[in-house]
């Protein structure tokens, strides 16, 4: 039997503050995640204005100076201000996560849509790629590809985007299969919709809605992987203010006691990745029909 206690009074009494509080109460993880990501985005956009020094401005006399008034996060091995470089690093985090996510969407969604809807050969191919990728740990694959194809920023983005596309394609594909079983695809076919309309007017909006939560989680993964590549010395290299590269540089000084060089970029990295993950997890709660609170 359908759930017919339709709540018409929801539209009444909408206030922005009420809505924010409502969402925060419903899914605190989403609220915290959203706050963190917006904060990092703010820092990334206005890094030039708010950072005390330039990204690669060196102060030869203050090399490895501990955190203090002059250098909030201390200075690194080349006498650069860690605090400013961490701020500029936020640009690289978004600079990699956003294009990688777009690439993942551009390839993954159509692939997933067609594989899920058409089935047959293409579906088999996507599945086979998935099997190969699944038993082929992504870190190693990324490493092998980047080390083979060169360490530019574009390369890293391309590698992460292409690596993630099949994973995203599989998510979209499972959403499509779920939608197919729900019957409204059958009624779209029976109505006489041509295939392109079924794919892009009917399937895509619903499949995307189902996988939005996944985009945030995959962006978190993209940031982490790019930092790992940089840390190992295969991705973006110093002096670019990329957090992974900064941690790599800081690693040498940990043994000799200068903890701050590696600590702060790492903390920022954990911060933004946690933010994306919280956002993704929270979105999962909000968008998940089962958890809506309309009682029977």
């Amino acid at each position: 039997m359908t759930d017919t206690s339709i709540d018409r009074s929801a539209a009444v009494g909408f206030t922005t503050s009420g809505r924010i509080l409502g969402i925060a109460r419903r899914s605190p993880t989403f609220a915290i995640g959203f706050a963190i990501v917006t904060a990092f985005a703010f820092v990334a956009i206005f890094a030039d204005l708010i950072s005390p020094y330039g990204a690669i401005e060196t102060f030869s006399r203050q090399v490895l100076q501990p955190p203090g008034v002059e250098f909030f996060f201390g200075a690194d091995g080349n006498g650069m201000d860690v605090f400013s470089r961490v701020m500029y690093g936020a640009r690289y985090a978004f600079g990699i996560a956003v294009p990688a996510a777009t690439l993942m969407l551009l390839i993954g969604v159509p692939l997933g849509l067609v594989a899920g809807y058409k089935g047959g050969v293409l579906d088999e191919v996507v599945l086979r790629i998935m099997d190969v990728l699944r038993s082929f740990p992504s870190i190693v694959l990324a490493l092998a590809v980047v080390s083979a194809t060169g360490q530019s920023l574009i390369n890293v983005i391309l590698v992460i985007g292409f690596l993630d596309a099949p994973i995203f394609a599989r998510l979209v594909r499972s959403e499509v299969l779920a939608l197919r079983s729900s019957g409204f695809i059958e009624s779209a076919v029976a109505a006489g919709n041509p295939t392109w309309r079924i794919l892009f007017v009917h399937l895509m909006p619903n499949a995307i809605r189902g996988s939005t939560a996944m985009i945030a989680v995959r962006m978190a993964w993209a940031v982490r992987i790019s930092a790992t590549l940089a840390f190992i010395g295969v991705g973006i290299q110093a002096p670019t203010p990329e957090w992974g590269a900064m941690i790599r540089q800081g690693a040498e000084f940990v043994i000799s006691g200068e903890w701050w060089v590696a600590l702060f970029p790492g903390a920022a990295l954990v911060g933004i990745v946690l933010g994306f993950n919280l956002l993704g997890d929270g979105l999962q709660d909000l968008l998940d029909p089962r958890r809506k609170a309309t009682g029977k």
């Binding site: 605190p28 993880t29 086979r128 099997d131 190969v132 699944r134 038993s135 082929f136 740990p137 992504s138 870190i139 190693v140 490493l143 092998a144 590809v145 080390s147 083979a148 194809t149 060169g150 978190a220 982490r224 930092a227 790992t228 840390f231 190992i232 010395g233 295969v234 941690i247 800081g250 690693a251 940990v254 043994i255 006691g257 903890w259 590696a262 600590l263 790492g266 990295l269 954990v270 990745v273 946690l274 994306f276 993950n277 919280l278 997890d281």
Partner: protein, 326 residues
């Protein structure tokens, strides 16, 4: 079904390492070498032959178990793998055990009262585990526990300098030394293991908590759990029914999780100079040691495929509904 995947991976790696701009011949030859030496090295490494011929030779040797030679250490790749794999496995197995022992109960407990305090905290910790890069937390822990507090031994490999490896029974220094009864080595092995295992178990526990919670929520909301309560079964029995139904999907998830972890442990090995397969594989990739990279990737692939097969068997044993599909 299994062979094509392995073949696919081998070919993929074989191609990947070669299309890159790495040039092992130049590296081996050194800056001073002239054209003639380069040609000799190239011939020696067999890189002068066309691509597919090289692949054919490689496959031919592979079938006989010869994985070629590593250029870094001119050891046979097969031997390197045989010596180094146990080190990585020791680290991996202990971490996964600890991760599962912590993760599963936490996941189950937080599913009891969804959105309760325990649930919110455990979800936050789990997401934290997802977000923390292994190498960074390793660096910071070494700084705190070794450099500052001196609780942990120096992060220099699997044993401290004074001890010698025990006779090789299981491949794990700790277990072997316990079995053979020389306690000082056991104590030292344990000391070296503690920090990396604890760190890696956090990385392992994070996804386990998340999925255990999701699976248990689904089971607890199921018709048969509600009907078990309607039958007036004691809460303890109802929980046992729920747990029994949740275990198989949880174990299956941990299994699939395992496949990705063997590679992830390589970063930890780098920091702790563990000398395991991961560290060796990572260096091979960085230096473009083709044969070693191919060997490493193949081991990872075989390891994952083996896990999938074991999981299928496990499901077959535990689920009456599962049937054998060829």
């Amino acid at each position: 079904m299994v062979v094509p995947i392995l073949l696919g991976i081998t070919f993929l790696t074989f191609m990947l390492v070669r299309i890159g701009d790495q040039n092992p011949v130049a590296m081996l030859g050194g800056p001073m070498a002239d054209e003639v030496t380069f040609a000799v090295i190239e011939k020696e490494l067999g890189l002068d032959k066309p691509f597919f011929v090289q692949f054919g030779i490689y496959l031919g040797n592979l079938v006989q178990g010869d994985l070629g030679e590593s250029w870094q250490s001119s050891e046979r790749v097969a031997d390197e793998i045989r010596n180094r794999l146990p080190a990585s496995l020791e680290l991996l197995v202990f971490s996964v055990l600890l991760g599962a022992l912590v993760g599963v109960p936490v996941g189950l407990r937080s599913a009891q009262r969804p959105n309760g305090l325990f649930d919110q905290v455990s979800r936050f910790v789990s997401l934290f585990g997802f977000s923390v890069p292994t190498y960074w937390i390793a660096l910071m822990s070494i700084f705190v526990f070794f450099f500052l507090l001196r609780w942990a031994p120096p992060p220099m490999g699997r044993l401290d300098i004074a001890s010698f490896p025990p006779p090789d029974l299981t491949g794990s220094y700790f277990i072997d030394s316990v079995l053979t009864g020389n306690w000082t080595t056991a104590w030292s092995a344990l000391g070296q293991l503690t920090l990396p295992v604890i760190l890696f178990s956090i990385i392992v526990a994070a996804p386990i908590i998340k999925h255990t919670r999701a699976i248990s929520l689904e089971v607890l909301a199921s018709d048969y759990v509600r009907y078990a309560r309607a039958q007036g079964l004691r809460p303890r029995t109802v929980r046992r029914v729920a747990l029994r139904n949740a275990i198989t999907p949880i174990l299956t998830f941990i299994g699939t999780e395992l496949t990705g972890l063997l590679a992830a442990v390589s970063l930890l090995e780098l920091i702790f100079a563990w000398g395991g397969l991961g560290q060796w594989g990572l260096n091979a990739i960085l230096l473009g040691d083709f044969a070693a990279v191919q060997g490493y990737v193949l081991v990872l692939a075989v390891f994952s495929v083996a896990i999938f097969i074991v999981l299928d068997l496990l499901v077959l044993l535990l689920e009456p509904r599962a049937t054998l599909r060829p």
